[in-house]
Symmetry: C2
Subunit: 309 residues, 2 copies
Amino acid sequence: MGERMIYERIALIGLGHIAGSIGLRVRADGTAGEVVGHARTQATREVAVARGLVDRTCATAAEAVAGADLVILCVPVGAMADVAAEIAPHLAPGATVTDVGSVKRAVIEAVTPHIPEGVHFVPSHPMAGTEQSGPESGFPTLFENRWFLMTAEGADADAVERLGRLWRSLGANVDTMDADHHDLVLAVVSHAPHLIAYTMVGVADDLRRVTESEIVQYSATGFRDFTRIAASDPTMWRDIFLNNKEATLEILGRFTEELFALQRAIRTGDGALLHDYFTRTRAIRRGIIEAGQDTAAPDFGRGPKGGDA
Amino acid sequence: MGERMIYERIALIGLGHIAGSIGLRVRADGTAGEVVGHARTQATREVAVARGLVDRTCATAAEAVAGADLVILCVPVGAMADVAAEIAPHLAPGATVTDVGSVKRAVIEAVTPHIPEGVHFVPSHPMAGTEQSGPESGFPTLFENRWFLMTAEGADADAVERLGRLWRSLGANVDTMDADHHDLVLAVVSHAPHLIAYTMVGVADDLRRVTESEIVQYSATGFRDFTRIAASDPTMWRDIFLNNKEATLEILGRFTEELFALQRAIRTGDGALLHDYFTRTRAIRRGIIEAGQDTAAPDFGRGPKGGDA
């Protein structure tokens, strides 16, 4: 095993945005002896080979996991149970199975029953990605300075340590979190905001008195960010909402309550309430910039995205 | 008058983000003989001179507009009426008064009664800006490829033409629009999205079971864009909501209705409805990219914003 090698063979099940970014980086760094991939369609498998996301592909997930010491499930959350059932009989003894799902409790419930004795399941979530999807969209620096969360309650300590080592080599900051808490935090910082963005874009599209060309033409401010979020993969997001139902609905309930209070302030002309509220939210932004999760560089509302100016 | 000169003297009332960007560009291009500015605080006036936003400043708006053939009101929408009343007796005959407010009907009602005979008022809205504010934040390319909308019903044709020429020289695409329609379009593409972003950030901040440090730390996806929007100037946005009340409340009503439908789909597990909805909103994004208002380059969810990768 080479000095930098962490796994002998990694199997990527699903070859979309996240899997592609993992494969490109692992192969560039030599952190695995071999990267094997599976995707359902031949077209995706061909792109994966052509772009060098993997060393080789297999037509079935079962073949792909054979002999792998790390299996990464990179399919939508709703497909995890079926994939786990399919690969279970073919997993190598001592192998680690992990996933990249944005929801953890539901994935644990879907996958755990299928994991054979002697195989280690480490549920995980790399908090990275763009609004793009598919095998063409990954890139090797996707995980740089992003969070990789493991919900590793009761998982094998060696398996957790080794998986963490891999993700640090991908550039991620590795941490662990309880699955239910993970799902609540994600409902706040990701799932509810996505549903809200989808909704606002849908409203704009529905409105008869504002034409679609006007929406498109004048989308510079605010709304443009919503459309970017609302361009994310429909299957992935359908599955996230259906599998993080309670936390998402709880946050949306709180959101609606708060929105109604602000609407009432607008209706009654309560400028002081609005000003106080907007001053408070501004302070949160400063915290995020200080935490290094974004820069103070303004978004100039034009392409290429901001960084050019 | 120099070949490039469009106005002999431009007076900027208010020296924030928009005024600063105008001043820097006009002075660099020589499209005005002189740029005079006024801001209420001496500190702002000093920054404006130090950064070269203007040639000189005046302690009062009345002094600043004296002898100017173009006066641009760059104050929050709620301050327009008072400023118009103050400057009215000092406006030069034949001068053009314009503004940069994000709401047009309320500004027309606030300013028009004060405009003396022989002075031309051309209500306007440059659709540009970042979440930053203040005299330090402007830059001369802010308006490049952005829209400049005039709600010029009944305004003097020569004044409209000349003002359009200035804004084209600033890099903007110039168009005209009816004031009420402008306010509705802006409610959709900007005002409602901003209130929604403010609300979501406020909810996150309120939530006791998710700590502030978690929100800050894990704000990479979706929420990060909301915090950027929610960092916008509180006074400016308070005034926008209070002065575009009806259109904003109408759009928020439609938004809530739609959000409830999606929440119900999540609760009942209607994956087909969610998938169809998210597929439709994705198509709108493509339209915006095709219209050149954003690029397909993904937002990599890290600083510096996207453009670096």
